[in-house]
Symmetry: C2
Subunit: 209 residues, 2 copies
């Protein structure tokens, strides 16, 4: 939300001196009370100010950015995630790498029969093995993957913002989107949520969509 200079001034006064009546604010700004009415209405509706009868306006502690923040937090992972690219735990690193190239993704999810999550393998894991000079054909992907329970996951219902926060905090590129399996501890892999999904959303939001 774009605030005008006068609205910024009102916010500043209420922050410093609130609770304060509209008469007092009008006095400080040297304008008529009626002039301020639309500004005060706007600031109140935007949630930046609150008005208490017989007390006056006070600052709610929310920033104008909160409006944007609220919109951002409303996206769910399920609105944005991509289809998961999975390999079996028995796959060799060589075959997993072929899948990585063919599907052109940065992260593969490693599953056992039934699609249950066992681990995650990223470009970085492959590079470490290559650096060690080991033969890709003899090593199963399970040797280089990050294993549950060390894998950071998200769910379809989680907010995209919370999932993005996990990506930043844990310094990973992608999260498996999982749902608990009927069987209890197991996690069914249903999607992939990555920095790419966040970047796409950012671009779309900037287009006003």
């Amino acid at each position: 939300m774009e605030l005008t200079r006068r609205q910024e001034a009102i916010l500043g006064i209420v922050k410093a001196e609130g609770p304060i009546t509209s008469e007092q604010i009008a006095e400080r700004l040297n304008v008529a009370r009626a002039t301020l009415r639309p500004d005060l209405a706007l600031l109140t509706m935007a949630g930046l100010l609150e008005a208490r009868p017989r007390v006056g306006y006070y600052y709610t502690g929310k920033s104008p950015y909160e409006v944007v923040a609220n919109k951002i937090r409303r996206y769910r992972v399920k609105d944005l995630h991509s289809r998961p690219v999975v390999v079996s735990v028995e796959t060799t690193v060589y075959d997993a790498l072929i899948t990585l190239f063919l599907e052109d993704v940065g992260t593969l999810f490693v599953v056992r029969e039934g699609g249950f999550l066992e681990g995650v393998v990223s470009r970085k894991d492959f590079l470490k093995l290559a650096f060690g000079g080991q033969d890709f054909r003899s090593v199963p992907v399970s040797v280089i993957m990050t294993r549950r329970p060390h894998v950071i996951t998200t769910t379809p219902e989680e907010s995209a913002w919370e999932a993005a926060r996990k990506i930043v905090v844990h310094e990973v590129d992608a999260l498996p989107v999982v749902e608990p399996a009927a069987s209890g501890q197991d996690l069914l892999v249903v999607g992939r949520f990555s920095k790419t999904n966040v970047t796409r959303l950012f671009v779309e939001m900037g287009e006003g969509r």
Copy 2:
């Protein structure tokens, strides 16, 4: 911006019937004109409606999302970018890979003396070489890099949104932030703008910062 049900109703009426006076809108909604005043003020200030004297309110064609879009487009690359991690064109793939691990980045910028951009090399480029079974120690990084002029770049002054759009459209993870060198065609590498920067910004925006 969160619109109330009444504000949505007003928008709908103006969209369908505008230009329309506040008296007519009040009639449609069966409320007093005074009741609508703060709503109309808010919708006008948010840029969703415009008021023309003696004509009435009309719809500007902007969506409520435009408010968020405008905020997003105001960030510049220079507000967000990271320090660049560079290697020289003469570096071997082996030494470049060590830099990649030590600095824990996904993309290196390849420069010649003076810090001028020659190319970009990503984890994917390294993996392709590893897949081919070639010796990392004998190959210079310039063999596997993407060369100028095929490198997609951004500048400190470009909007973060436009840079993010380049990342999505060209399917890359990071862009070198460059400034034209005094010498003419050359580009000085001054930063790195990646999906990580966008994801961090997204998280910060969701925190209301």
